[in-house]
């Protein structure tokens, strides 16, 4: 048993991490599916999209070869519509609501059609948006992830100058650092950020950490408004014995390394246990397998009914040969000479509580998995200390805001994962849009948030 890197050849890496949802190969192929769209009125797909993309409209535009129009329709609702077309859990959003599901027919492949339009726009650098004349205001945004970029783009369109402070060396946030590489390539992430900033009026200062390189007070003084969109970061601890052993990593770091260091550089074990059953757990498990792990086991303390990931996501893991152990609560990580050798779990049974909800109850039975690597994917923690230091009101580390992103400090707004604790990329994009709207109103009204917290 060994945890090591460079397990595969360059060809194998390329093959394992190639696009999991390939685009339409031809115009005709896209046309066949686009023409199946019924062009619903008040369409359920649009209502099920957190950013409210007018799906029937853009699909209709594809059918008339108006790809530029289709791209504009998508991007004007969701400036990360290109990336979202690749990473959104569409089976529970737009495609899940497609009326064809009610006819027991295949839903329209909305994501693939969205990709058909947006990929060309990004690749060919179409200038779809124009900035309004400057209004003489400048806004600082912390975080160049989906919420920050979406907010920046919307503000810049309105003639506001934006400076983004980003702690990493690249923009895109979760899209660039936190999602399986077979869904979006690093190149695409870069192109997407460039596409968004090509509007102009958006300056991204990389390697700038809030609380270290720049403080909130400084930003408040130098800018007319501040938007905080720094997401969540720290992996939740398990608080079980053995968590400090060599070979125990958290999924966020594991995925970050894959995105940042390149596939061969990332060490992976022969027998890997991934704890959790959310999207991040799936991304970690499938990628561990694709990096060359011999055996990957997902460990979850409830059943498939309760798992946070979608069935489609789970199926990716199963098709990759990952195993799933349901009803197992990690109790202890054992090791030899400081290195992981076993994951010990309590077998769990579900029992209805007083309210009728099924709750996991630990039994005496033990499940012991021989492993040489444990990846923790049991959720992320907000940057509680940072938020506390900024003297922002918060709920367990999640920044407290009104419905439209107003924080407890006048002129400071916030949205995305740092407010909601971690949702889909598309939710963060919408939060950024909402934030931009309220910030613009604030700027135009001369510095008073209408409904402060």
């Amino acid at each position: 048993m060994a945890v090591r890197n460079n397990r595969l050849t360059a060809e194998e890496y390329a093959q394992h991490f190639s696009d999991i949802h390939p685009p339409f190969e031809t115009r005709d192929a896209a046309m066949v599916d686009a023409n199946r769209c019924l062009f619903c009125y008040d369409a359920p797909c649009t209502k099920s999209c957190p950013t409210g993309i007018n799906v029937p409209k853009f699909i209709k535009q594809i059918t008339t070869d108006n790809i530029k129009g289709a791209a504009f329709t998508i991007f004007s609702s969701n400036i990360m519509g290109g990336g979202c077309a690749k990473v959104c859990p569409v089976e529970k959003l737009c495609e899940g609501a497609c009326v064809y599901n009610l006819m027991e027919e295949e839903a329209i492949p909305i994501a693939r059609l969205q990709r058909y339009a947006t990929e060309r726009a990004i690749a060919q650098k179409w200038q779809l948006f124009e900035r309004k004349p400057g209004i003489g205001k400048k806004v600082a945004i912390v975080g160049a992830g989906p919420a920050g970029l979406s907010c920046a783009h919307a503000l810049s369109r309105e003639g506001v100058d934006v400076t983004i402070f980003e702690k990493e060396e690249k923009g895109g946030g979760l899209m660039t650092y936190g999602i399986a590489a077979y869904k979006v390539t690093p190149e695409f992430c870069c192109d997407e950020v460039d596409f968004i900033t090509s509007l102009g009026g958006i300056d991204i200062q990389y390697g700038k950490v809030l609380g270290q390189d720049v403080t909130l007070t400084e930003l408040q003084q130098a800018y007319d408004a501040v938007y905080l969109a720094f997401g969540v970061g720290m992996a939740r601890q398990l608080y079980i014995p053995g968590e400090q052993l060599e070979g125990v990593v958290d999924a966020i770091n594991f995925i970050y390394d894959i995105r940042n260091s390149g596939y061969p550089a990332v060490p992976v074990g022969d027998q890997v246990a991934v704890i959790g059953m959310g999207m991040t757990a799936i991304d970690a498990a499938t990628q561990a397998k694709r990096l060359g792990a011999k055996e990957v086991t997902l460990v979850y303390r409830r059943t498939q009914q309760e798992m946070p990931c979608t069935e489609a996501e789970m199926n990716i893991a199963l098709l990759d040969g990952c195993k799933i152990v349901w009803l197992a609560a990690p109790a202890e990580i054992r090791g030899e000479e400081g290195r992981v050798t076993q994951l010990v779990c309590h077998a769990v049974k579900l029992e209805a509580d007083a309210g009728g909800r099924r709750q996991p109850v630990i039994t005496d039975e033990k499940i012991v998995l021989p492993v040489d690597m444990v990846i923790k994917a049991t959720g992320q923690m907000p940057f509680e200390q940072l938020i506390h230091d900024c003297q922002l009101q918060h709920n367990n580390g999640k920044i407290a805001v009104t419905d439209n992103g107003v924080t407890s400090i006048n002129g400071v707004f916030s949205g995305g994962d740092c407010v909601n604790g971690g949702k889909e990329v598309v939710d963060a994009v919408q939060a950024g849009k909402d934030g931009a709207k309220v910030i613009l109103a604030y700027l135009l009204e001369g510095g008073n948030a209408r409904n402060s917290l």
Partner: protein, 422 residues
Amino acid sequence: MADISANFLGIRSPNPYWLASAPPTDKKLNVLRAFEAGWGGVVWKTLGSQVKNVSSRYSSVDYNGSRVMGFNNIELISDRPLDINLKEIAECVRLFPDRAMIVSLMADNNRESWHELIRKVEDTGAHGLELNFGCPHGMTERGMGAAVGQDPEIAGSVVAWVMEAATIPVITKLTPNVHSVVPTGRAAVQAGTHALSLINTIQSVTGVDLDTFIPNPNVGGQSTFGGYCGPAVKPIALKMLTTISQDPVTSRVPVSGIGGVSTWKDAAEFMLLGATTVQVCTAAMRYGFRIIEDLCDGLNNWMDEKGFRTIDDFIGRSVPTLTSWDELDINYHIVAHINQEKCIHCGLCYISCEDGSHQAINLAYGNPYNTYTIKEEECVGCNLCKLVCPVDNCITMEEHRKGDEYLNWKEFQRRGLPLNDH
């Protein structure tokens, strides 16, 4: 098993499907393959004076991802030497004596040319002649084709010349490029034609290339008006056919129906409105001769289901049900009903009724699915919602008569009934 064989003026064919005068019938090679595939007959592509074709010759109209809804051509009559055509016709007749062989003709505009051409064609053993009074391009400039069909007087004289010489059945093919096909049809019947066929192609411009700005089909940077056919023209052909079936003069002769016949259903519709045989071209050009299998099979099964033994049992059967507007029963009233079990909540009925009809559908907002119901008192029974609904039998029209007795517009006026009654 029903008998789908046809008897058109004594010209017999094992089924009512003839290939229309066009590229599929312009040479022995094609015609023999068509007969082998099972076609009941052919109308050999028009013989006449020497012509020369250009390229490209065809263009089409696509609709919502479906190709060739409408088809257009600027081809002329047969560009092969007459004697080769005649020799091949004779060979085809000999090899397949049970199939109908009609020869389309378009002679120069004088009696002698017609007589000479008819004599030569009859020598082949062909079973009938079809006079091409419809070709809308190329030939009109020489006073032939549609130029004849558009003028009842000229058409009548040409038919009269033909009848002087012809000893086999004569079918006159009408052009749709007129305000009504009846006058030319009457002139032809009065001049003695044994039968009519319709429609020829409709003059058209199918579209313009948005890159080159040149209309289709592009002939070296220019285009010209072509003849439109295919599925798109069927409703127009059916209307024209019906007027021929209703007219006391033209209804005396049998009709061969043409215009967008692609399936057995189309054929049955043409026959219900008075056609004895149907002619097919675009569908065969698009999919090949093999479509004859379903054309025959489907018609046969339908006839069995309906209890029709021969095609004569239903030819013309629907004609009396097509009347003038002022004969329609004003007291007949229907109201839409949406089956909520089948509804997929696409909202297409709602928006078409809202924007295109009488705002008779109620929307109850839901997330993500809205609920749509009919406001019965507002519904005028126009049918639009049912037409746009993508689910079979989800929207049905239920009868809510306004009065027991039959009441038409003429009677309505005579009685001086109030306009806004219903």
